[in-house]
């Protein structure tokens, strides 16, 4: 199926139906993957996907039909409309957007999917031998993926947008074992399709493998409350997980109590705290020109000088809450309808240096690196891949990995220092509503949190 041809056919068709709003998505994508498990290349594959969907809004109800065969488009449109009618009790409507006709190409010198597998294998082989030169190393896992995607958005109001994007991701895990103990250290990188940016990581990988071994003999932290300093990677995960998800309007718009908690103008943190989300911040994994509802990307201040100033919207939530559009409706593929998602989320840098930040901590924890994180709105947990004690203003011994947890409202207020060294992490993927992993980036300078609960024994 040729998506551009079908796109033009759909652009004509969609205008002919009686629905409050109709949109179609079409996409074609190709990707390749290489996985190493242990010393050998375990598997490699190449895949392709093509498909689309129709979404209809009729009298406040949504219908959605996804497919990967383009036969009988009319029947699919009619089915989506019929489903939407069936809902009837819905209250949804969408904020108006000026129709857009545009084509956006990804600015890449070389499509990563077309780079011969031999070239990808060569660099990964080198990394794997770096890992394996570490004593006590039990095994390693390397996952490399690239993807090229061309995707179309078409609606019944006359919008027709063609966009493309390319992604490269690399995840490396080194696993050390001794006496029935297993420890691991990892590295997770991503970018917008530039294969060259995953070259020359040998030194970094060597240190990572050594850290996995060192963790075998590292002590466990004693569980309890600590002053915790987060590195830019982990602070980025924190702001994404703990606060970012609360700023997604679809969590808030149908819940009056939560709406009250998230009232614009409320004080959430210290005066130094600025939090931003924006796909219009260019060149990152969460960047794009238009979201999956044809809304131009923006840059949104979620918190400015400690005060809640904005949140992230789809056309539906913006209409419901009477707040402006932000261009944050995204779908991971044609199999799903777009929902409110983050893009590039970060804490803006301030002036404190890392040395100043730790200088007056008698006993605390320096938590680095990303292991994972989830949230249930109010409560969050996130795991550091690497942790050290801070003693008398100095970084001290390496610890086993730690998990941090807390209440977001309390924790944001407990941030009492924000560093000057913003760094963006593009290695993560975000999951929500069964749509995972969505390419996002998040970042921060170093930050310090007082009274943070750390799991331990």
């Amino acid at each position: 199926m040729n998506v551009v041809e079908i796109g033009h056919e759909l652009a004509d068709l969609l205008r002919k139906y009686d629905a409050d709003y109709l949109e179609a998505h079409l996409e074609e994508s190709r990707s390749s993957h290489l996985t190493y498990r242990g010393k050998e290349l375990e598997s490699t594959d190449k895949t392709s996907a093509v498909g689309g969907n129709i979404r209809a809004l009729v009298k406040g109800g949504w219908g959605f039909v996804s497919f990967n065969s383009p036969d009988n488009l009319k029947a699919k449109i009619e089915q989506a409309i019929e489903q939407a009618r069936f809902v009837s009790s819905g209250e949804a409507r969408v904020e108006h957007v000026q129709p857009v006709v545009d084509t956006v190409s990804e600015n890449i010198a070389r499509n990563p999917v077309d780079i011969p597998l031999a070239e990808k294998k060569e660099i990964l082989d080198e990394y794997n031998s770096v890992i394996w030169s570490t004593p006590k190393l039990q095994t390693s896992v390397i996952g490399y993926s690239d993807n090229y995607r061309k995707y179309l958005y078409i609606n019944s109001m006359g919008s027709y947008i063609e966009q493309e994007r390319a992604d490269v991701t690399l995840r490396i895990t080194a696993i050390a074992a001794d006496n029935g103990e297993v420890q691991q250290a990892g590295l997770s990188l991503g970018n917008r399709g530039d294969f060259n940016r995953i070259k020359n990581l040998h030194q970094q990988i060597k240190e990572m493998a050594q850290r996995a071994v060192d963790m075998l003999t590292a002590p466990h932290v004693k569980g309890g409350e600590y002053t915790v300093v987060l590195d830019p990677v982990l602070a980025g995960v924190f702001i994404h997980e703990a606060f970012g998800h609360l700023s997604e309007a679809d969590h808030v718009y149908e819940n009056p109590q939560l709406r009250e908690i998230m009232t614009i103008g409320k004080k959430f943190g210290c005066d130094e705290l600025n939090v931003v989300d924006g796909a219009a911040v260019a060149g990152l994994r969460g960047s794009y020109r238009y979201d999956d509802e044809g809304v131009p990307a923006t840059k949104t201040y979620l918190i400015r000088e400690g005060v809640l100033t904005g949140r992230l919207h789809s056309r539906e939530t913006a209409a419901k809450m009477h707040e402006g559009l932000t261009g944050n409706a995204r779908a991971i593929s044609y199999r799903f309808p777009p929902i409110v998602r983050m893009t590039n989320t970060y804490i803006e840098p301030r002036s404190t240096s890392f040395e100043e930040m730790i200088s007056d901590i008698k006993e605390g924890i320096y938590a680095r690196n990303w292991y994972g994180g989830t949230t249930s709105m109010e409560m969050f947990t996130f795991s550091a891949g690497e942790a050290y004690m801070i003693r008398n203003g100095k970084i001290a011994e390496l610890l086993r990995p730690v998990t941090l947890t807390g209440n977001v409202f309390v924790t944001l207020k407990n941030i009492d220092a924000i560093g000057n060294d913003l760094d963006m992490n593009e290695g993560g993927g975000c999951g929500k509503g069964g749509q995972s992993p969505l390419p996002v980036s998040n970042g921060s300078p170093h930050i310090r949190i007082q009274h943070c609960l750390v799991g331990g024994r």
Binding site: H33, G51, F67, F86, G90, R335, G372, G373
Partner: protein
């Protein structure tokens, strides 16, 4: 399919084509109201070849030229792992019931009624609660053919019901929820609703716990969130082969309490993860993993079994047409003797853990879990006194499951992947503020 197989076989010693055709029909309720009706249709095809002794793989969702798919597979076979197996010969699939035509007769109107039946009693019981619900029916058609003449083909239906509620009071948030899944229609919402109402009742008061080691009852959901991620990796033949499973070299040893047994079982009639064969055409069977505390077997697909010098346990899994790797079909932990009330009565000060958040983020490979108690209750002097908050538990399954005080006498399906009773253990590390 046949065309791809035939053409691929001209270029490679062996070939296998695997196709999944699915149709999903979910009905979504959001914020106590019907929100959307969806239909998701999808076809995916994957090709695996053995060329010059090496494995090649390619997959496509939607249309693809057979020649393109074969070229993808041929390119990857140049670097593929040496194949340590042959594709299976023709087999007779066992008769494991996973298809019920009745599922497809449930119309949208009835699904909508079921959703209302899930939500209404919950909102009536608790003013201010905001409920989401989903009712879904799916049909799956799986076909596998290979160049040795094996043809495995089956249809499967699944029906699912689920409801979740969020209750916000000031800045306190409570999350409750329950779901059920089966290959047959589920028309009775009573059990799900009763569970959610019970959660709400137990959570009415707040209770505090000290920071120290406490006895804990893990509910079946708690077992799923705390223990299952580590068990999945520990019994994965591939991780065993790599030497990264802490129990990989300890087959035949008693590492867990004698009350604990664990089986992988895809043969239970109409269970959501049952199937007549795995995704490589190997006939489904029940595999003992732990028996009376003793480690028995690990789970293998064809390639991993070939590398490890053993046989596939019928656990080759592709997800939705991805690469094959060993994965459990469903974990079964047989129940014990104790009633829930007896276990609660036995505890002077302790916890019931129903949902852990973030437990799978830590060193899962090493058996560690560490998570925030998303839904859990305090026990004082044999009585449940209320919900706990700001509480974190952590431990290692190899230490915690070494001594189990009791297993509940009824087992429950959770998440489609686990059938387990309550598990009552003497000491888990708890941090609270």
């Amino acid at each position: 399919m046949e065309e791809i197989l035939e053409l691929a076989h001209q270029f490679a010693e062996e070939a296998e084509v695997f196709q999944v055709i699915s149709e999903e029909l979910p009905v979504h309720f959001e914020a106590n109201r019907l929100k959307a009706i969806q239909r998701k249709q999808s076809t995916s095809i994957s090709l695996r070849i053995i060329k010059d002794g090496r494995l090649g793989y390619a997959a496509a969702s939607g249309e693809i030229e057979p020649r393109t798919l074969i070229n993808y597979a041929l390119e990857t076979a140049r670097f593929g792992m040496p194949a340590r197996f042959n594709f299976p010969e023709p087999v007779q699939l066992p008769d494991i019931a996973v298809f019920d035509p009745e599922v497809n007769r449930i119309g949208t109107a009835e699904m909508i009624d079921l959703g209302h039946a899930l939500i209404e009693p919950v909102i009536k019981s608790t003013p201010g609660i905001v409920c989401d619900a989903a009712v879904s029916r799916d049909t799956l058609m799986i076909r596998l053919i290979n160049s040795r003449g094996c043809r495995a083909e089956y249809q499967k239906t699944t029906f699912g019901l689920g409801v979740s509620g969020t209750l916000v009071r000031d800045t306190d948030m409570l999350f409750v929820g329950e779901g059920q899944e089966s290959c047959r229609p589920i028309r009775d919402t009573k059990a799900i609703v009763t569970t959610v109402l019970r959660q709400l009742e137990l959570a009415r008061n707040l209770a505090t716990v000290p920071t120290r080691s406490l006895p804990v009852i893990f509910t079946p959901d708690g077992v799923l969130s705390a223990f299952v991620p580590s068990l999945i990796s520990a019994f994965n033949g591939k991780i065993v082969l790599q030497g990264a499973s802490p129990i990989g070299k300890r087959q035949g040893e008693k590492l867990f309490d004698a009350k604990i047994s664990l089986y992988d079982d895809p043969t239970i009639e109409y269970a959501p993860n049952s199937r007549p064969c795995d995704d490589e055409g190997i006939v489904s069977r029940r595999t003992p993993l732990i028996e009376n505390g003793v480690v028995r077997n690990f789970l293998y697909d064809l390639q991993t079994a070939g590398q490890a010098g053993t046989r596939s346990t019928g656990n080759g899994s592709r997800g939705r047409g991805g690469l094959v790797s060993p994965a459990p079909s469903a974990f079964i932990i047989p129940p014990g003797e104790a009633t829930f009330e007896e276990m609660v009565k036995d505890i002077k000060e302790g916890l019931i853990i129903e949902q852990l958040m973030g437990a799978e983020q830590g060193n899962v490979l090493g058996g560690e879990f560490s998570g925030n108690v998303l839904l859990g209750y305090k026990i004082e002097n044999g009585e449940i006194t209320g919900r706990v908050k700001n509480t974190m538990v952590s431990g290692n399954i190899y230490q915690i499951l070494k001594e189990v005080i009791a297993l509940g006498k009824t087992a429950k399906w959770v998440g489609g992947i686990l059938l387990a009773p309550h598990i009552y253990v003497p000491a888990v590390s708890v941090a609270s503020k």
